[in-house]
């Protein structure tokens, strides 16, 4: 059977777009190897000094550890909240489901800067009550990140539940399984790929979150993107180039591994 394939013009345009998409990612590689203190192209010799400064400068290490901690806590919180909510929607199909799901997805739809102002209001209000859970604290940031990531986790859970065969759950129910048993023995094992993906996506979104973080931190809770932001705004530090190269390599590796796993799942 013949198929409709893109012609030479389409291919040429697509190549241009692909180059545009990859160009800035490739551009950081030479910059990261410059021996200069400034953001310049290396002329002649190359140096790894900016990679070394990532390890030696405690500020980078501290913020990496802080971002990891915030990412893990906020991802755990949004995964659990999204999972319970989606299970409720799927098992009981309550009235007003569309409206409730719509409400949960709001932080994803509302312009991020408005969410940032909203969370700034929240954390400055909470600061008056508790000193370790308000503005510029790591727990406050973790909670704010959960607000921002929970809609994405919920979408992933609902999608993977929608692919689950209801008859499996009905069979379990008919055989006398309780809600708890149906959830933990029947439903969750079947959507475990979705749960893991949701947790991973929440972590990644928190790890690179900057729009909201800028509004709710000042000097204490300096996450990695916050530190990069400071380096980008004031005096551009080539260590950011080194860090960017590392992050790009990790992304490419994770995507490669993921595509291998998905392909194996698709062809069992």
């Amino acid at each position: 059977m013949p198929t409709y394939r893109p012609g030479p013009v389409s291919l040429a345009l697509a190549v241009l777009v692909a180059l545009f998409l990859l160009m800035p990612l490739l551009a950081v590689i030479p910059v990261s190897l410059t021996p200069s203190r400034m953001l310049t192209m290396p002329t002649g010799e190359l140096s790894l000094r900016h990679y070394r400064s990532l390890i030696e400068d405690p500020r980078w290490l501290d913020s990496i550890l802080l971002s990891l901690r915030i990412g893990v806590v906020s991802s755990a919180l949004s995964t659990v909240l999204a999972l319970t909510f989606s299970l409720g929607v799927w098992m009981f199909q309550p009235r007003f489901t569309a409206a409730l799901v719509g409400f949960v997805l709001l932080p994803m739809v509302v312009p991020p800067v408005v969410s940032a102002v909203t969370l700034y209001f929240l954390l400055t209000s909470v600061s008056g009550i508790s000193s370790f859970f308000g503005y510029d604290t790591w727990l406050g940031v973790a909670m704010a990140h959960s607000v921002m990531t929970v809609p994405f986790a919920t979408v992933l859970m609902l999608v993977s539940l929608s692919q689950l065969d209801r008859r499996i759950d009905l069979a379990a129910r008919g055989l006398g399984a309780s809600v708890w048993e149906r959830t933990t023995r029947v439903i969750m094992p079947n959507i475990k790929f979705g749960i893991v993906t949701a947790a991973l996506l929440s972590f990644v979104l928190s790890w690179e979150e900057i729009g909201v973080t800028l509004f709710i931190t000042s000097v204490n809770a300096i996450t990695l993107p916050r530190l990069m932001w400071m380096g980008l705004r004031d005096n551009i530090d080539p260590a950011i180039a080194a860090l960017s190269v590392i992050l790009i390599i990790i992304t490419v590796l994770v995507l490669a591994v993921r595509s291998v796993i998905t392909r194996r799942q698709a062809a069992p």
Partner: protein
């Protein structure tokens, strides 16, 4: 069995934690922001009046709409070109296109903006190269202006524009295209008169997503605009942190939400949300 008392209890118990969390940590503070816009510094509609009369705010609004419109056209066009190959290309072409779409998609907005700074700044790759071949003597100003903002934002938004287009192109019946070609229509004509009209819902969805994202965009304009081409989101930030005027910052936020909501409602009257994703 549906709708029995225990079922309703179960649903409520499972759904309550997330709903409570978002009511306390999102809905309630949002109402607080609305309250700020009416009470700071003095109660009343003063801030909204200021929005309508302040020249700076007006110019930022107009600039934001202009940049968002340009970015939408650029992103949707570029996304269309690469999506055609991602969806309809040969297996190898598909893998390559997917790589070029997903790698930038997963990389943080800061890294991507930084990449553009490295390319476009006065001592960046493009200027260094153009000077070394003697094409220009003085570096071109490519960043810290609207050009840089448009380039960086389009780069960020292309992958988002791809997804609605891809789903529209996937659901398209290939036989119609083959029929058009079989009846003697040229590639170009088939593309413009059959392919593009059939992906209309994807184009609308993709344009809506891009435009809405552009309106509230903060990071890329702030870095690549270098404080010179301020957009709404950065103006909100400046009003809250630099010239503390929380009331005005809150009022702009409220207007932005209302505007985005109205825009989405308008588009959804003509296209069903399900067709978009």
């Amino acid at each position: 069995m549906r709708g029995t008392l225990s079922d309703r209890m179960g649903a409520a118990l499972l759904m309550a934690p997330l709903l409570l969390f978002l009511i306390l940590a999102y809905a309630w503070p949002f109402l607080g922001v609305v309250k700020w816009s009416f009470t700071l510094p003095t109660p009343g509609f003063g801030q909204y009046h200021a929005l309508l009369t302040d020249d700076l705010v007006q110019s930022v609004f107009i600039r934001t709409l202009r940049i968002a419109a340009i970015v939408t056209v650029v992103s949707v066009t570029a996304a269309y070109a690469i999506t055609v190959v991602w969806v309809r290309g040969s297996p190898v072409q598909r893998v390559l296109a997917e790589f070029c779409i997903l790698v930038p998609f997963w990389i943080s907005v800061l890294t991507r903006a930084f990449g553009w700074v490295a390319l476009l700044s006065n001592r960046g790759l493009i200027n260094t190269w153009l000077q070394s071949i003697g094409f220009i003597s003085e570096p071109l100003t490519l960043v810290r202006n609207e050009f840089g903002v448009i380039v960086g934002m389009s780069h960020f938004l292309i992958p988002f524009a791809v997804f609605p287009l891809a789903s529209a192109m996937r659901s398209l019946d290939e036989r119609v295209l083959l029929a058009a070609r079989g009846l003697g229509s040229s590639r170009m004509r088939t593309f413009w008169t059959v392919f593009v009209p059939m992906t209309r819902s994807g184009i609308i969805g993709s344009a809506l997503i891009t435009f809405v994202f552009s309106l509230g965009f903060f990071v890329t304009p702030a870095i690549l605009g270098g404080g010179r081409s301020v957009m709404i989101a950065e103006l909100i930030y400046l009003r809250i942190f630099q010239s503390p005027d929380w009331g005005l910052g809150a009022a702009i936020s409220v207007v932005l939400v209302v505007f985005v909501g109205a825009l989405m409602a308008l588009v959804f009257r003509y296209v069903k949300p399900k067709q978009l994703v």
